[in-house]
């Protein structure tokens, strides 16, 4: 699901979001479900989304990714 389909849902939910849409001020960590060519399907608060993994091509199912503006920026090391 990309683009316009997601757009409508997001317009309606924008006021419910607690963090800024431009800068992801919370660590928006998402667990990778499956990996495709240059994209991963991640679980973001129970919602499945596709993020680009051009910058984190080593991402594998089970990894936690820091996601921002539709792309994964980095893998998270788990545990405090």
């Amino acid at each position: 699901v990309t683009g316009a389909e997601r757009h409508d849902e997001r317009v309606s939910s924008v006021h419910e979001r607690l963090h800024c849409v431009t800068c992801a001020d919370e660590a928006v960590a998402a667990r990778v479900r499956t990996v495709e060519a240059l994209a991963a399907v991640v679980d973001l608060d129970g919602r499945l989304e596709r993020v680009a993994i051009d910058l984190v091509p080593e991402a594998r199912p089970g990894d936690l990714l820091l996601c921002h503006a539709g792309i994964a920026l980095e893998r998270l090391v788990e545990g405090p």
């Binding site: 990309t2 683009g3 316009a4 997601r6 757009h7 997001r10 317009v11 924008v14 979001r17 607690l18 963090h19 800024c20 849409v21 431009t22 800068c23 992801a24 001020d25 919370e26 660590a27 960590a29 998402a30 667990r31 679980d43 608060d45 680009a52 051009d54 910058l55 984190v56 091509p57 936690l64 820091l66 921002h68 503006a69 539709g70 792309i71 920026l73 980095e74 893998r75 998270l76 090391v77 788990e78 545990g79 405090p80």
Partner: protein
């Protein structure tokens, strides 16, 4: 997956607060600037100032990407949006930023095709879905967001998308920090460094702060325990006579950053001679533009833009808020003429803006006579 519980543990937060109290000297105020708007938001949202002794004063920095965009660039975006056959897409918060003739939402109400997206890749997908329209993405943000725009430009070129462009307003974190550090009467003693910008550029990028300006930096994550730990780390540096860049956000930030992200930015964008910042004026080499190799996707070359430099409303003191000279509630229009519903200045627009964050979470904690409260 929220992945935050352990970073909101009240017992841990209390023990860190106790450590912070043990590290301050009575009556000796340490002013700590949190550079990133995300930190500002978290500090107000979680009431962290309540946990700190009066000797630790938090000063809000310039790191809200929406807040630093000047009025003239909003007007340029509106001019693009009002061009026949053009759809302008951008992040939600940018839709409400006031230009000199209203916001992008006002332009939409007048008939312009303005849409909200969460990713520049979504804007590129819209261009593919609607080949008869030109799709321009109004790109803003620090080094956190620039990689997404870079990846989008690379894909647009690979796909040969003919009807897509980027209006590039990406800014860099170092120049505003230098501007603040160079400003006369600087009273900031230490910095909480941005977390997600550092994911991209790495922690070494801040070494100039201790080395040239003698101020400590701790790169921090965004949860309450993270921020308290970062403040404790800064105070420990002072107590031990150290002054260096430390990394609290080790679960994601590396010293060298993400080289792939840096390379993608460098391939698609280059540093401008200068760029106007709200509140900070024109800063040399402080922003990015689209490289010649991607000229076909550069809105600044595709459209005739007004490019005007427009003064902020006189009553608006966003510039003073962004540079830490005043607190949000010290602005004369805070909470009266300027509210999140009808923002006058950018700091009231984004939830990361110091004024919006204070309006949402902090204003009721201050005596009424200090804070005008409406709505």
């Amino acid at each position: 997956v929220r992945y935050v519980d352990e970073y909101r543990d009240p017992a841990l937060a209390r023990s860190l607060a106790a450590e912070i109290r043990s590290l301050v000297t009575a009556g000796e105020v340490v002013r700590v600037m949190e550079v990133c708007g995300g930190h500002t938001h978290a500090i107000y949202r979680h009431g962290l100032e309540e946990l700190l002794p009066p000797e630790v004063e938090l000063v809000h920095g310039p790191g809200c990407p929406v807040c630093v965009i000047p009025t003239g660039r909003v007007d340029d975006a509106i001019a693009i949006a009002e061009t026949d056959g053009v759809t302008l897409a951008t992040f939600g918060d940018m839709l409400r930023v006031p230009g000199s003739r209203g916001s992008l939402l006002d332009a939409k109400a007048r008939g312009a095709d303005v849409r909200m997206v969460y990713s520049p890749l979504d804007a590129l997908a819209l261009a593919a879905q609607e080949p008869d329209r030109h799709l321009c993405f109004f790109a803003i943000g620090f080094e956190t967001t620039a990689p997404a725009t870079a990846v989008t430009l690379l894909r647009a070129r690979a796909d040969g998308t003919p009807n897509f462009s980027v209006f590039c307003n990406h800014v860099l974190i170092e120049p505003p920090l230098r501007a603040i550090l160079d400003s006369p009467g600087l009273t900031v003693d230490a910095f909480i460094g941005p977390g997600h910008v550092s994911t991209v550029i790495g922690t070494d990028a801040y070494r100039f702060i201790p080395e040239e300006y003698g101020r400590a930096v701790v790169v921090s994550a965004f949860e309450p325990v993270d921020l308290l730990q970062s403040i404790a780390m800064l105070l420990r540096q002072r107590a031990e006579g150290r002054c260096e860049v430390e990394n609290q956000y080790t679960r994601v930030v590396r010293r060298e950053g993400n080289e792939r992200a840096v390379a993608a930015i460098a391939e698609t964008m280059e540093v401008r001679e200068d760029f106007e910042w709200r509140g900070l004026g024109v800063l040399p080499a402080s922003a990015l533009r689209v490289r010649d190799a991607f000229a076909a996707f550069d809105a600044e070359r595709q459209f005739a833009l007004p490019g005007a430099r427009i003064e902020d409303p006189k009553a608006c003191r966003c510039g003073d808020v962004l540079t830490g000279r005043i607190k949000p509630w010290e602005c004369g229009v805070f909470g009266t003429a300027c509210t999140p519903e009808r923002p006058l200045g950018t700091c009231m627009v984004s939830s990361e803006g110091a004024c919006a964050a204070f309006f949402s979470y902090g204003r009721l904690r201050r005596p009424r006579e200090q804070v005008p409260v409406v709505g």
